[in-house]
């Protein structure tokens, strides 16, 4: 997506978020008996976010107009970007989400081992056996340090 469109998007999203917040804040009942209720502060902030969104929009449009005037070629031509294949960009976000889901619902140790193995394979291109051994080692270290030594509050283990 071009920078210009991104900036327009930022401005519009800000106006939508700020406007929605201001409308919802205005509907919060004020039972305090004073002019200042629970909705006053979010109402003011919502309006400020709308103002910021409008400012982003105005500056984006002004900048675009100025660029069109001085450097028409630069405003229209976006430099091509070399990026890895689209599916690889999703591996780490999906691994992160999968790790959290597995850690909360099944086992943090298992999730840790799996996360290390997947990252080792995907990012380091190590052999699967190396990745699995690394995953097991990471899970053991995590278990000993956080669950046994530090006794930190962690999700319940449902595997063992």
């Amino acid at each position: 997506m071009s920078t210009y469109r991104k900036d327009l998007g930022v401005g519009l999203i800000a106006i939508a978020i700020g406007g929605t917040a201001a409308i919802l804040a205005g509907r919060i009942p004020n039972l305090t008996g004073t002019p200042v209720g629970p909705g006053t502060f979010p109402l003011v902030i919502g309006l400020a976010v709308v103002a910021a969104g409008v400012a982003v929009l105005v500056s984006t449009v002004r900048q675009r107009l100025a660029m069109d005037e001085h450097e028409p070629s630069r405003a229209t031509v976006e430099p091509p970007r070399s990026s890895p294949p689209a599916w690889t960009a999703w591996v780490l976000p999906m691994t992160t989400a999968g790790f959290c889901l597995l850690a909360v619902t099944v086992s943090l140790d298992l999730a840790t081992g799996a996360a290390f193995a997947v990252c080792g394979r995907h990012l380091g291109r190590y052999r699967w056996t190396t990745c699995l051994a690394g995953g097991v080692l990471a899970a053991v270290i995590l278990h000993v340090v956080f669950r046994t030594l530090l006794n930190v509050t962690l999700p319940a283990e449902r595997l063992w």
Binding site: P35, F41, P42, V49, L123, A138
Partner: protein
């Protein structure tokens, strides 16, 4: 002279092997707590106060205080090396510290953070001893009007961290304030933006948001970068050069002074001190464009400020018995557990505890610097560890840090959403730092804002009755206008890479 004698006697007590050992233990535990996002100094100290009950009062307060500044330093280590701020005041260290690490200068950043923290700790100790009786009444001058004005000033400083676009800074700050208002209203308990969800009724915790914005979004960015580690070249220098030390000297001194003064103000977190110190440095710099790209002053000054704010916060505690922050409140609890009430009489009734406690700040800071400087080389090499290893470490540590605070899966969901939002914000060049400070300051801003409006029957007229509040608001306006002018001369470059922004 009496003060000096008492301080020297206190130093003698603090230097006894037993107390040095407790300071060392506190500094070690504190560093470990600080490294882990989520378990900040407040939670760490609160967890360990009950364990200190069986110790003698001097050992207990020395250990608890050492945990405090140990955690402050530990938070900076992960902020610089992994873009994971351990606690709120480390967020601003991320801006230049992580960029330095990416340039292979992580060792210099860590060393300057250690030196800055040490110098600030010693300076704040001297200021505490010399100025405590004079400055203590200042804390009592801060009512809701002044507090609201000061919070506005701190937020204005944060908005200035927005890179080339002030509107984006304002937007980020507003989003942070909106996030902070989610949950029960503190006065009427009326739900705000909760949509009937019980988890949202308890509000959105600061830790999952900050960890998601910085650490998780970093994982997402790394997956697109194609790089094999945070820094792929050869580590050039593990310790700061003479030029870097010279560049950092004045920012450390300024950060120390500013942090101490802002630490005096009740309710203002050390994070506000570090954000303000960063903004001051950028304004004073002859080349402000270097900030956010690895300027060493951007590490030196905020690190000094957040450490010095600790000393500043002790002035109202020791002289008036007023805790100025949740962390200082836990420290107050540690005193009370041992039957010592901090306040005007502490120096006459319990000099055997008060002076060794103050002197132990110097001992603890020396221990921290001795502990951390030799390890800088080892820590700095973390940036060369392959992403295949470091990214899962970041994910696991972030998860544990977020989950361990309340034991809620909801916080993990918030962290993931914040990670996604952080990724979008980076792509759209919306700065994240103002959002973080806004979440930290929002409770105090909202409470003082509402009290101030109530004083003026719903209007802002009450601000006119306080010259201090008016002065602070005027300072905020001047900050805003001057930065608007400087940005007009330096328009936003649409071709700018997102790495250049923060």
């Amino acid at each position: 002279m009496d003060t000096l004698t008492a301080l020297l006697q206190g130093l003698g007590t603090a230097l006894s092997p037993e107390h040095v050992l407790y300071a060392l233990l506190g500094a070690l535990v504190g560093t470990l707590i600080g490294v882990l996002p989520g378990l900040g100094p407040t939670a760490g100290m609160a967890l360990l106060v009950p364990l200190s009950v069986n110790l003698d009062p001097v050992s207990a307060v020395i250990m608890i205080a050492a945990i405090y500044y140990g955690a402050m330093y530990g938070g900076s280590t992960t902020a610089i090396l992994m873009n994971v701020p351990g606690e709120a005041s480390s967020v601003v260290t991320v801006l230049d510290g992580y960029q330095m690490a990416r340039q292979g200068r992580g060792g210099s950043a860590l060393a300057i953070a250690a030196i800055g923290s040490f110098v600030a700790g010693i300076m704040s100790l001297i200021l505490l001893v010399l100025l405590a009786p004079l400055l203590a009444p200042l804390a009592l001058d801060f009512g809701p009007l002044e507090l609201c004005a000061l919070a506005v000033l701190a937020l204005t400083a944060a908005i200035n961290l927005s890179g080339p676009s002030l509107a984006r800074g304002l937007l980020s700050c507003g989003l942070g304030l909106l996030i902070a208002t989610v949950g029960s209203d503190p006065v009427t308990a009326e739900g705000r933006f909760t949509f009937g969800n019980y988890d949202l009724l308890a509000g959105i915790n600061f830790i999952p948001v900050v960890v998601g914005l910085f650490a998780i979004s970093e994982v997402f960015v790394a997956s697109n970068s194609g790089a094999s580690s945070i820094f792929e070249g050869k580590l050039s220098r593990l310790y700061p050069s003479r030029a870097e030390l010279r560049q950092s000297a004045a920012p450390i001194a300024r950060g120390s002074l500013l942090g101490f003064v802002l630490g005096l103000v009740p309710g203002l977190s050390p994070a506000a001190a570090s954000f303000t110190a960063y903004d001051v440095e950028r304004r004073l710099s002859k080349s402000p464009e270097r900030f956010g790209k690895g300027a060493i002053e951007g590490v030196a000054s905020p690190e000094a400020a957040n450490n010095s704010a600790v000393g500043g916060g002790l002035v109202p505690l020791l002289t008036l018995g007023i805790p100025t922050s949740p962390t200082i409140a836990v420290l107050l609890g540690a005193f009370l557990v041992h039957g010592i009430t901090p306040g005007p009489l502490i120096f006459s009734e319990h000099p055997d505890v008060a002076w060794p406690f103050i002197a132990s700040m110097a001992v603890g800071n020396v221990i921290l610097v001795l502990l951390n400087l030799p390890l800088v080389g080892l820590w700095a090499r973390i940036v060369s560890v392959p992403y295949a290893v470091i990214l899962p470490v970041i994910v696991v540590v972030s998860f544990i840090g977020v989950y361990s605070v309340n034991g809620r899966a909801f916080d993990v969901v918030v962290m993931l959403i914040a990670g996604l939002v952080g990724f979008v914000m980076r792509s759209a060049r919306v700065p994240m730092a103002p959002l973080v400070l806004a979440i930290v300051i929002a409770p105090i801003l909202e409470a003082s804002f509402r009290q101030s409006l109530s004083l003026g029957d719903g209007g802002v007229s009450a601000f006119g009755s306080s010259p201090l509040a008016l002065g602070l608001l005027a300072a905020a306006a001047v900050l805003l206008v001057t930065s608007l002018r400087s940005r007009r001369r330096r328009p936003l470059d649409p071709g700018q890479d997102l790495e250049d922004d923060f």
